[in-house]
Amino acid sequence: MDDNGKAASVFDTDRQHLGDVYAKALLSIGEKTGSIDELIDELQSLVSVVADQPKLRAMLESPRVKFADKQSIIDKMLQGRATKTFVNFIKVLTRKGRFDCLAAVAAAAQEMNDERAGRLRATMTTAEQVDDSVKNRVASRLSQVLGKTVLVRSQVDPQIIGGLMIRIGDTVYDASIQNQLKQVRSAAIDRANQEIRGAIDRFALEA
C-alpha cells in the first residue's frame, strides 16, 4: 500500500492519455451546465489536498480497498463541499480504478479549457525576483504578439545569470545571459577553428 507520492512527479504518457479522455468528458459536462471554471477549481484543490495526504491517495488508488469503502470516504470528504457533478466524477474515476490519473486529468482539463478560451500559459524565468509590474508588462507584450491572452507564471533561477527566459508550451524564447554567453563561446570557438583551418598550410609548410 505504501507507494508514497513518487509516481506523481514522474511523467507517464499512459496516464496523460487517460487524463485527456476523462478531462474531455468532465469539460463537456461543465460546458452543458456552464460550470467549467468551478469544476477545474475543485479539481485543482483536490489534487493539492491529495498530494499532501499520501495515505488518502494510497487508499483511493488501492485495488484492495472495496469501492463501497472508497465511496463512503469520498462522500464524507466532499459532500457539501463540492458540486454534485464533481463528486460523481470522482466516484466514476475511483470505480474505474483510475484515481491515480487525477493529476493528469487536472492538467489536461486546464490545458483544454485554456485552449477553448484562447489562453496561453507562459513560464517566465528570471535570475532574481521581479515585481508584478514587470510580469504584467511581459504578459501584455506577449498577448499582443501572439494574439491570445497570456497568463504568466514567474519563476526564479539564479543559474541564468540575467535576462529573461520565457517558455510557452514547448517553445522557449531565450534571452538569458547564460544562453548568450554560451552562444558567444561557441561562435568564438567556431571562428577560431575556421581561422586555424584556413591557415592550415602554415603548419604544413613547417612540417
Binding site: 511523467f11 504518457t13 517553445t171 531565450d174 571562428r191 577560431a192 581561422e195
Partner: protein, 512 residues
C-alpha cells in the same frame, strides 16, 4: 606552432565585438526515459520524423518515433551521459555527414568523425544521409563494365557500373574477400571506393584496412566503421552515411563502388531499435518496414543520365546466411531488391574452389549489357556449361561407364573449374582473363593434366607479359569490338590462338 595566443585572442575578441544579441527561440522537450541507445522525450511537439535533436553536452539524436504523447529518439552518441529530465532541443535540420576529397583515404565513423588518428576531416561540404533516390528520368541503363578482377565473377556474373550485386553466403566462405578484391582492382580506374563495415569485429575491420593499405587501395577508399561494439543506432545509419559520401562523387560525374559489409547485421541493429521503440515485430521479429530500410538504401545506387554527368554508384551488399538458408527473411528481401547475386558456398570453399561461387544459382540481371564484348564472346555459355558440368559430375560419381563425349565434357569441366580458381588479393586484368578463359573454352587445356592447370595459367600469363605484350595490347585495344574472339578469322582471335599454341608447345615439353 606558428599560431600565437595573441592571434587567436584577437579572433575571439573580434567575434565578441561583432556578437549580435538575438533572442534564441528553440523548441524543447524533456527526457522521460533513456537507455539502450534510445530516449523517450515529452514535448518537441513540432519535431519531424528524421529531424536531428540535441541533448545536453552536444549529443545528437534522431527523431524516430512520433507518438501521441512522446517522441522516440535514437541517440547517436554516448547515451550514458543523458539523464531523465534533461532538456532536448530540436535542431530543425537533417543529419549530415562530411563528403568530398577530405574523406578519401580515411577511416571514419558513421557521423564522419575520424577513427584513424590522422587528424580532423577538413571537409568543405556535407550531405544529408537520407535522401530520395534518383528517379527514372535521372537514370540511364547500366552499360559500362565494372571489373572486379575476379575471373569467375567477370566471366559469369558481370557487374556493370550502377548495378547492385549481392554477395550472399554462409560465414567464412570468402564473401568479404570478393568485395575487397573488387576494391583493389579499382586502382588506376578513378573509381572511388567505400567500405562500410556494420557490426563487424573491429579486428576484422583492422585486417581489411591493413590489406587495403598494403595494396595501395586506401588512397581512393573510405572506410566507414560501425563495429560490433558500436550502439545499434550508429550501425543502423552507417550504410546511409557511406552512400551519402558516395553520392557526392556520383553527382560530380564520377564512379563509385560501395561495399556494405554486411546488411544482415544492419537489419539486426534496426530490429533492435524498432523493438526498443515498441514497434510491432513481424516475421523473425523484424519490423514491418525492414524491406523499405534496405530498398531505399539500395535504390540510391544508380547510373545517372549523361545530362547529369553520367556518374554512378555500384554497390556490393553482403548478406550472411545461416546454414545456407537463403529463404530466410532478410536474404529473400535483399535478393529481390538487388540486380543479381553471387552465391558462395562452404562445400565449394572447403573443396578448394575459391572464390567459392556457385555458378548455377549466381546471376547478374544486367550483366550481359555491361560486359566487355570480347569477354562476352569467350564466356557466353560458360555459366550454363559449368552448371551442367556440376550435374554431370554428380551423376558420374555413380561409377557408370561413360561414353567418350560425356567423358570429354567432364574433362573440360574439371579444367574450367580449376581455371576459375583464383588467389586472394590477385585481381586479373580483363585482357588476361579473356585469354585464359578462351584457352579453356576453346579446348587448349584439354591436354594439360588437371593438377597442372594452375601452373599453366601462371606461366602462360608470364609468357604473354614478358614475350608477347604486343598481342596483349592488341586484345586490350580490341576488347570492345563485337567480333573480337568470336569469329575465328578475326585478327585478334588469330593472334591469341597463335600465342596460346606457341606457349602450349613449350609448356608441354617443359614438364614431360
Amino acid at each position: 606552432m606558428k599560431f600565437s595566443a595573441d592571434e587567436i585572442a584577437s579572433v575571439i575578441q573580434q567575434e565578441i565585438e561583432q556578437y549580435d544579441r538575438q533572442i534564441d527561440v528553440r523548441e524543447v522537450g524533456t527526457v522521460l526515459e533513456v537507455g539502450d541507445g534510445i530516449a523517450r522525450v515529452h514535448g518537441l511537439t513540432g519535431v519531424a520524423a528524421g529531424e536531428m535533436v540535441e541533448f545536453p553536452g552536444g549529443i545528437i539524436g534522431l527523431a524516430f518515433n512520433l507518438e501521441e504523447n512522446s517522441v522516440g529518439i535514437i541517440i547517436l552518441g554516448d547515451y550514458l551521459k543523458i539523464n531523465e529530465g534533461d532538456e532536448v532541443k530540436a535542431l530543425k535540420s537533417l543529419l549530415s555527414v562530411p563528403v568530398g576529397d577530405a574523406v578519401k583515404g580515411r577511416v571514419i565513423d558513421p557521423l564522419g568523425n575520424p577513427l584513424d588518428g590522422k587528424g580532423p576531416i577538413n571537409a568543405s561540404d556535407t550531405r544529408p544521409i537520407e535522401i530520395i533516390a534518383p528517379g527514372v528520368a535521372q537514370r540511364q541503363p547500366v552499360s559500362e563494365p565494372m571489373q572486379t578482377g575476379i575471373k569467375a565473377v567477370d566471366a559469369m556474373t558481370p557487374i556493370g557500373r550502377g548495378q547492385r550485386e549481392l554477395i550472399i553466403g554462409d560465414r567464412k566462405t570468402g564473401k568479404t574477400a570478393i568485395a575487397i578484391d573488387a576494391i583493389i582492382n579499382q586502382k588506376e580506374t578513378g573509381v572511388k571506393c567505400f567500405y562500410v563495415a556494420v557490426g563487424q569485429k573491429d579486428s576484422s575491420v583492422a585486417g581489411v584496412i591493413n590489406v587495403l593499405e598494403e595494396k595501395g587501395a586506401m588512397e581512393y577508399t573510405t572506410v566507414v566503421v560501425a563495429g560490433a561494439s558500436t550502439p545499434a543506432p550508429l550501425q543502423y545509419i552507417a550504410p546511409y552515411a557511406g552512400t551519402a559520401m558516395a553520392e557526392h562523387f556520383m553527382w560530380q560525374g564520377q564512379h563509385c563502388l560501395i561495399v556494405y559489409d554486411d546488411l544482415s547485421k544492419q537489419a539486426v541493429a534496426y530490429r533492435e531499435l524498432s523493438l526498443l521503440m515498441r514497434r510491432p515485430p513481424g516475421r523473425e521479429a523484424y519490423p514491418g518496414d525492414v524491406f523499405y530500410c534496405h530498398s531505399r538504401l539500395l535504390e540510391r545506387s544508380a547510373k545517372l543520365s549523361d545530362k547529369l554527368g553520367g556518374g554512378s554508384i555500384t554497390s556490393l551488399p553482403i548478406i550472411e546466411t545461416l546454414e545456407g538458408e537463403v529463404s530466410a527473411y532478410i536474404p529473400t528481401n535483399v535478393i529481390s531488391i538487388t540486380d543479381g547475386q553471387i552465391y558462395v558456398q562452404p562445400d565449394l570453399f572447403f573443396k578448394g574452389v575459391r572464390p567459392a561461387m556457385n555458378a548455377g544459382i549466381s546471376v547478374s540481371r544486367v550483366g550481359g549489357a555491361a560486359q566487355v564484348k570480347a569477354m562476352k564472346n569467350v564466356a557466353g555459355g560458360l555459366r550454363l556449361d559449368l552448371a551442367s558440368f556440376r550435374e554431370l559430375e554428380a551423376f558420374a560419381q555413380l561409377g557408370t561407364d561413360l561414353d567418350a563425349a560425356t567423358q570429354s565434357r567432364l574433362d573440360r569441366g574439371y579444367r574450367m573449374v580449376e581455371l576459375l580458381k583464383q588467389g586472394q588479393y590477385k585481381p586479373l586484368h580483363v585482357a588476361d582473363q579473356i585469354m585464359v578463359i578462351y584457352a579453356g573454352t576453346a579446348g587448349f587445356l584439354d591436354k594439360v593434366p588437371v593438377e597442372q592447370v594452375g601452373r599453366w595459367e601462371e606461366e602462360f600469363l608470364r609468357f604473354i607479359h614478358d614475350k608477347k605484350s604486343d598481342v596483349w595490347q592488341l586484345l586490350d585495344a580490341e576488347k570492345n569490338d563485337g567480333d573480337a574472339m568470336k569469329k575465328p578469322d578475326h585478327a585478334t582471335t588469330k593472334a591469341v590462338r597463335e600465342v596460346i599454341e606457341e606457349f602450349n608447345n613449350s609448356f608441354n615439353t617443359s614438364f614431360r
